[in-house]
Subunit: 165 residues, 2 copies
């Protein structure tokens, strides 16, 4: 990506990033609080994508994001969608603690998905139509079995029983 | 667990662990090779469980294990079941690179399962009845969606499209 299209914030506890074009991407690098206190970064304006890398104890507020919010190598981050924000996907990699607070518009977006690998303590927070708040964990442990009954051997993957309620 | 029931090997490139009772467990800690060359640890005899922790570049040969082979905080390990070895499960946590070589007896054990979290580059290696060798990756990336259509909101987890062949 053309560097001119990236708006960056680096090594800050808190701050605001303003985006003036939906073609721009936002990079949030090594931001966040310490001693149990969260830092806050706010992205103002619709953007193409957001990369959150190497951040600890960060609350990230976002407006609509066209492609993906990527969270990698982070610990204890909150992705908070502002009212009206529509997101299509959040990708989480090598991250411990990623709490996603969904806006009503993103809940209504049936294409919205979270893609995750090598991560733990992830959840989706949202409010149901009747006003009840939910916090749903995203499974991080899976069980694999080898299925030799078909024409070709196959691996079956299922969510660990840990998550059956 | 009673320490008298643990047989340990620590900080060795290679070695052999002999187990004289199925009630004993084996601890393999910080073992393995370097510079791309694998170390080899052999467990001789049936045991209750094997813990493989903090090992890099290790080939671990095992006989039957009653409960679980646990692989955690490792990089590039191979779990190689000796002929006749029957395993029930391998649990993989925070590990990059875990190749499991199945014995015929474990392939026939339909209860055999691999449980994994926060890990990458895992696969199962086995030989089919007609002698063909297989190497099947265990999915490490998952896609989550929120399903609001039922009585209660639910999270749906599926294997990433990366693994559809």
């Amino acid at each position: 990506m053309n560097a001119a299209n990236i708006v960056s914030i680096e090594n800050e506890e808190s701050g605001t990033v303003e985006v003036d074009s939906m073609r721009k991407s936002v990079s949030v690098y090594k931001c966040g609080g310490d001693k149990g206190k969260y830092g806050k970064v706010e992205v103002k304006g619709k953007c193409n994508s957001v990369q959150v890398d190497n951040c600890t104890l960060l609350e990230l507020y976002v407006d609509s994001v066209m492609s993906t919010v990527e969270v990698s190598n982070c610990k204890r981050v909150k992705i908070i969608m502002k009212p009206g924000a529509r997101l299509n996907s959040v990708a989480i990699d090598k991250t411990d603690g990623c709490h996603i607070y969904m806006s009503k518009e993103t809940q209504e977006n049936t294409d919205f998905q979270v893609i995750a690998a090598k991560s733990s303590e992830m959840n989706l927070n949202f409010e149901s139509a009747d006003g009840e708040m939910y916090e749903k964990p995203l499974p991080e442990q899976f069980v694999y079995t080898l299925d030799l009954t078909g024409d070709q051997p196959a691996i079956t993957s299922k969510v660990s029983d840990l998550y059956s309620s």
